[in-house]
């Protein structure tokens, strides 16, 4: 999706947003501190703030209403229709037809007959996301969709969004002040500060040193209590005692260590011999993609320099069992 936007918005309180950007991305992140103009820019794109020039894939959206733009809008507050069941919510849009695959993808297929009052926070977000996707939007706009969820639920919701993003193919704009959401889910990011763009580029490059949490999502099958087979390797994981069968897991990129030699006598339970697939070097950090298991590792520039990492190199990935988080059961 190629997006071109020219926005010039003034508020009575002195806030001024001036943005003139053109970029091409399947998933775009809008990052930056609160009050920087993230939501205002988003409103220009959705059409609830009029007057901005918005061109999407060569088509001029500027004069279109929110309905005409066909935007699937998901906010921090799930805003489900309280008098309708999950199924009725999902089917609400006149454009919605089959919801089966969406419900399955979002793991809400067992909740279809419930009403929002009986859903957990994470479930509500998934239903809101499903309702937006079922309306067959041309663009999915997510305004801090995971804020307020606890850590595990947030990572779980992110992993679900990650898979639905690939499954549905709908272009997406994600607003977030959390770097792991931006980096994990988008490929191009605009950073807004004081109403103007302070940084732009591939999402990882816009990261600050302090914002280094990038999540890896993967799944596996429990072989025995505490042991999960993930592709070619078996990982020791701390699992809830009732977990069984296929499971979804997550591990932060900065929780994985790299070693050129096999370490001996180490407390970490997982030492995996693998190869480096790709290295992305940025201003402050380096991201290393491993071949098998397919994981992304974050190291500092200094570490990259000292280890002299190169693509194709054999390496040992070291992960503590406690760094791998159980997100929930997966489908077979």
């Amino acid at each position: 999706m190629i997006l071109e936007i020219e926005a010039n918005v003034s508020r009575p309180n002195g806030f001024h947003l001036i943005v003139e950007e053109k970029w091409s991305a399947h998933a775009t992140g809008i990052a930056g501190p609160s009050g920087g103009g993230k939501t205002t820019l988003l409103n220009c794109i959705t059409g609830s703030e009029r007057g901005a020039r918005v061109i999407v894939d060569g088509e001029d959206w500027s004069e279109w209403s929110m309905q005409e733009r066909k935007i699937g809008y998901v906010t921090q507050d799930p805003l489900l229709f309280p008098h309708m069941t999950v199924k009725e919510n999902l089917l609400y849009s006149p454009r919605a037809s089959s919801i089966g695959p969406i419900a399955e993808m979002l793991r809400i297929d067992h909740l279809l007959e419930r009403r929002p009052a009986n859903l957990s926070g994470g479930e509500k977000r998934r239903v809101a996301l499903g309702r937006a996707i079922a309306s067959q939007p041309r663009l999915l706009v997510l305004d801090e969709p995971f804020t307020g969820l606890d850590e595990i639920l947030r990572r779980e919701a992110m992993s679900v969004l990650h898979s639905i993003k690939q499954w549905s193919g709908v272009p997406m704009i994600l607003v977030s002040h959390l770097a792991d959401e931006i980096v994990g889910l988008t490929d191009w990011t605009i950073r807004l500060e004081n109403g103007s763009v302070s940084k732009r580029g591939p999402s990882e490059s816009v990261l600050n040193e302090t914002e280094t949490r990038i999540d890896n999502y993967f799944s596996g099958i429990i072989l025995e209590p505490g042991l999960v087979r993930c592709g070619p390797c078996d990982l020791k994981v701390i699992l809830p005692h009732d977990a069984d069968g296929p499971v979804r897991l997550a591990c932060y990129a900065n929780d994985i260590l790299l070693s050129k030699k096999p370490p001996d006598e180490i407390s970490a339970r997982n030492v995996i011999p693998t190869k480096i697939k790709l290295i992305h070097g940025f201003e402050k950090i380096t991201l290393v993609d491993l071949e098998a298991p397919s994981l992304r590792v974050l190291v500092t520039r200094e570490a990259n320099r000292d280890l002299d990492l190169v693509t194709g190199m054999s390496i040992y990935a070291i992960i503590k069992a406690s760094s791998i988080v159980y997100l929930g059961p997966a489908e077979n």
């Binding site: 309905q67 066909k70 809008y73 805003l79 609400y92 454009r95 009986n118």
Partner: protein, 223 residues
Amino acid sequence: MNSIQLSLSVGFAATLLTLPLAILAAWFLEKTDSKARPILQILITLPLVLPPVVIGYLLLALFSPSGKVGSTLQWLGAPVAFHWLGAVVSAAVVGFPLFVTSISLSMREIDARLERISASLGASRLQTFFRITLPLAWPGILSGAALAFARGLGEFGATIILAGRIPGQTETIPLAIYAELDSPGGETKIAWLVFASIAICVILILVSRIFQGLHKRKMESES
């Protein structure tokens, strides 16, 4: 028809007659940004503050058989003045402000973002109204209907001026009580009428409560 049956039928007719209008007025007041809203607000509040006799007089002026509106209605076979319909119109007018206010309050409570989300999902304004606004305003519509019904039931001043006191046609409970005050031995009848009024109102409150409870349970229920 005795005056209790008459009062009930007048109350029901008045409530049903004003239901769509009250919903429309409340929606206009709460969900649009029309400049005419303050004027409408004043017009709607007026019957609440005007003396009922004044309301009756104004209605009579409007519906008088010698006037245009009155004569046309008479020609159509629906005379309002000194007719059962007059009692209905009086009850409707005095109950209307309560009806609208109650619906307005419940419409105001609806998160406006729900209606925006509905629009973003592709629903038209009309679809949003019928599928989101109206079902969520249901408790207010119910309590408004109960209030309007009860208010109409007790209407005296406007009714006696517009509809007169015609036994079996326009002599509702309050008018019957007034008539019995003058007649010797009317105390027993008055006692019955008072008891009936209280009973009707209690039942009204109970029914309204039950419906509201059902609505609440539906919103919280599993399915």
